[in-house]
Subunit: 150 residues, 2 copies
């Protein structure tokens, strides 16, 4: 009984902390943060890995592995920055469908993250990189088609 | 002699490629990219590691190591995005001193990178993290004092 009471107190404190953290985050800062994450991801995925896969940039294993690891680390961050209330406050292409159907948005983000997680290993070999850039790119596009406005 | 000729041809091609890459990069994209990198760094250094060091956020080893590794990976990227010609083209706080005294700017960036490189190991322990956040923060501030406009 004492343990249950402790758990309840802990839960209330945890909710309070989360609520405080949310109250502190300004929508414009959240929008800027998720855009920054996607800009850095895009440059390293498209500008480095995509360019190597297409032959627009010479393949360099160390640079490829670094870019792939960075994209992998970044791939979860921006999804924490789509809290309710961050649909406006600064210019954003985020589609209202994100907040209307969060389960579908979450599933799309997880499909992307699963493919991105394979990039660092694939980046060690140009043929594998080409294949994995293609598979990953499909999941980027699928999510952008549904959840990014024109 | 043939080898020397080949080297000269290779050097000319390399310069040509670099020149092409530079000509392709629009100043506004470079400015946005370096700002994005610094935004993501700042959130993970200040908002995660700094907050844990100050006790504003509970210490979580896994989250600390992840944020520290991310900051470490990001810490070299934006310095590639201060090429000549990117001093204007979009709103920027980059001080003209960056292009007037590139050696001093490079030295300041390297002092920051050297401290940031110690963060992932330090993040495994709260006392070590506190100390290393302090040392790292000084190098951030030193560079911002000299090279970021108010």
């Amino acid at each position: 009984m004492k343990k249950l009471a402790q758990q309840i107190v802990f839960s209330i404190v945890a909710i309070g902390v989360a609520g405080f953290a949310f109250a502190q985050a300004k929508p414009e800062d959240e929008i800027r943060y998720r855009q920054s994450v996607m800009n850095v991801m895009g440059r390293n995925f498209g500008g480095v890995l995509g360019a190597m896969a297409k032959g627009d940039r010479p393949y360099d294993q160390a640079a490829a592995v670094k870019a792939a690891s960075l994209v992998d680390m970044l791939s979860t961050l921006h999804f924490d920055a789509f809290a309710p209330g961050t649909d406006k406050g600064a210019p954003t292409k985020a589609d209202p469908a994100i907040w209307r159907d969060p389960a579908k948005f979450k599933a799309a983000s997880e499909r992307m993250q699963a493919e991105v997680a394979k990039l660092p290993a694939a980046a060690r070999d140009l043929a594998a990189l080409k294949a994995q850039v293609g598979e990953t790119g499909k999941t980027c596009k699928a999510c952008h088609d549904d959840f990014r406005m024109k």
